[in-house]
Symmetry: C3
Subunit: 133 residues, 3 copies
C-alpha cells in the first residue's frame, strides 16, 4: 500500500479547518466537499462564483475536477458523487448542469442527492470518491 | 485494477441524471442513493411503493439489493449504509424494517442515519458501499 | 481479500439497530456514524457527554478514535470524515475542537460538513473512511 498523500490544487482556497481538499492512498482518492468558490486570491477571503445555483454548480464541479486532475485522476475514475443541495427546487437545474459537465464520461459515477443546510450564500456542495487504475 | 463498469438492474427506473445505479471497479462497489421506487413500467414515470415509511423502506432495501445482486455481491459484502430519513419520528420503524431485512447478515455493515430533505413524497433514501472478495 | 470483520470497541454503546460501529475488509475500514455518547454503563441507556457542541464533538471524535484503535488503525489512516452538524452557528467551534484534536495528523483527511437533523439532544455526528496499510 502506498503512502497517504494530500492533494492540494494550487488555486484552491485554504480549508477552514485541518482537512485536505483531497487525499490519496493506494488506489483510493477521496475528494473533500467542494463548494462554488472561485480560485483563491492571495489576501482575500474565499469568493463564491455567483448567487445562482448554475454558477455555483459549475464552479463546484470545476473544483472537484481540479482535485481529480491534481491527483492524476479524471471523471472516469469517479465512483461516487454526493450532491448536497439546499432547495428541492434546484434539482432540475442541478441535473442540467451536471449532465452537460459529465456528458463525456463513459461510465457515469453513482450519485446521491439530498437537501441539507449549508453556510449562508452556498447552494451546493459536492464530494467524490474515486478509484484509480 | 479491473475496469470500471456500470451496474444497472434491468427493472430499475432510469436515473433522472447522468449517474449509474451502481459502479464497480476492482473490489469496490458503490451503490447510488436508492429510494422506494417500484420496478419500472415502460412508458410510465417512477412510482413510489406507497406513502408509508415501511413500504418505502422495504422497497428501498430491495432496490439496494438489486444493485448488489446485479454486481454479483450480497449484503455480506456491504461495508456501509447511509440512511437518509426526513423525520426523526421514523427512526424506530426504519430500524424495525432494517433489522428484519438484514436479520441474516453475519457481519452487519456500518451505518449512518441523518435527517434531510428529499423530493416530495419520498421518506427514505439509502446508498451503500461494498467491498467484494 | 481478507474476510469482513466487525470492529466493536468494548466500551461503546450497543447500536440501536443491526449495524456495526466499524467494519473492516482488506485495507478498507468504515466507521459508522458516531455521536457524543459516553462509554456505556451496563443496564443504563446511552448518555450524551453534555449539552454543548464542544463536549459532544470531543466525545464524538474519541468514539471515532476508539473504532480506529480497535481496528489497529489511527487518524493517519483516515481518508474522509463526514461531519454532520445541526446548526451553522456551531461551525467555528466544531473547527476549533477538530483542529485541536487532529493537530498531530501529518496528512489531514478530506472532510465534508453539512447541516442536518439529528435525534433530540444530539448536535454532532461523524463517520469515517480509512484505508489501512
Amino acid at each position: 500500500m502506498s503512502q497517504k498523500t494530500a492533494v492540494t490544487p494550487p488555486a484552491h482556497t485554504v480549508p477552514p479547518a485541518r482537512f485536505s481538499h483531497g487525499v490519496r492512498k493506494g488506489h483510493i482518492l477521496q475528494v473533500a466537499g467542494q463548494v462554488g468558490f472561485l480560485p483563491a486570491v492571495p489576501g482575500e477571503p474565499p469568493a463564491v462564483a455567483g448567487p445562482s445555483l448554475r454558477e455555483q454548480a459549475v464552479q463546484t464541479l470545476r473544483n472537484v475536477e481540479s482535485v481529480l486532475t491534481e491527483a492524476g485522476a479524471s471523471w472516469d475514475d469517479v465512483m461516487m458523487l454526493r450532491v448536497y443541495l439546499t432547495d428541492v427546487a434546484h434539482f432540475a437545474e442541478m441535473n442540467a448542469v451536471y449532465d452537460e459537465y459529465l456528458a463525456d464520461v463513459a461510465v457515469p459515477p453513482a450519485r446521491t442527492t439530498v437537501y441539507v443546510g449549508l453556510p449562508e450564500g452556498l447552494l451546493v456542495e459536492i464530494d467524490a470518491l474515486a478509484v484509480l487504475d
